[in-house]
Amino acid sequence: MGITDFIFLAVMLALVAYSAFKSGAKTKKALTVGAKQFWNVLPFFVAIFGLIGLLEVLLTPKQVGAWLGPQQGLLAPLYAAVVGGLSAGPPAAAFPLGKYLLVQHAGVAAVGAMLISWTAVATATLPAEIRFFGARFALSRWALAFVISIVIGLLMAWILPLMGWSL
């Protein structure tokens, strides 16, 4: 648990305390509603985290690095977005991987696309998204996030040299 988790929990506790101060009955109802909902989705959460574990083991940063390697070319950002989008590793793992790829002479567009899709595409949570919002919403957003990742990667490769950026 990081500092942000503690801040979040402190804010939650303060909100519950304030809610209880305003109305005990309403607070009790709020906590019951929350607990019931949590209990309902718990099996699904267990499945999602099982899936995340599987993807982490089958798609390690090392593996991703080996696949993307120093590929240049027009298709590199596309590959990068697909691989980033399928990964379920923690966001903190993406940055060192991105640096490694840049050092291996991967293009900025590919690395940018990979970093964006890593958190923006969310393939592992797609089943959950379908459950809560329906297939039409979830699949459209998922596909659109892929496209956006590639577009942002390309934009980064265009803007960053103009700013004189180098690693």
Binding site: L31, F44, A47, F49, P90, F133
Partner: protein, 179 residues
Amino acid sequence: MNAFVKWSKQNWLLYVVLVAYAVLAAFHAPEALDAAIRGLTTFVNLLVTLLGVFVLIGLVRVWVTDAFIIRHLGEESGWRGLAIGAGLGTVMIGPLVGVFPLYESLLAKGARPGVIVAMVSTWAIKLAMIPLELSIFGWQFTLVRNGLLFCAAFVMAPTMEFIIGKNWGARFRDAAGEE
């Protein structure tokens, strides 16, 4: 029996994941164990945060009126609604699965689909990760990447509303009301 079928339908993923683990365990037992331990560790690490999110869901249900949501995040909220959504998404923590139920209740209370899209999009901006990104890539890279990601929310939202259709939000609310 009926309840079990309904439960299974809702939690089909559990069966898929169990089968995947069984297959992996049959051929690569150590990897299957490693995956299970990683998944469990992630889950336990996030459990307290997840519980906090569900407390928030309960509080929103009880205290926040539909009228308030409709006024600030509803169909008529325009760019301001999207900006609020993008801002909220940026400060959201925890896994995306944890905030889906919260967003679902916002939708049911009358939030515009685009606002939810903006929130899911900017969830990809991890405030807590920015120091790490800065130290690895420098300020220009961090600024451009996160800036573009934030702006993308304002492209994603109208595009998604166009793709899923104008009445999607209304139909979602009707379905949620019937349950």
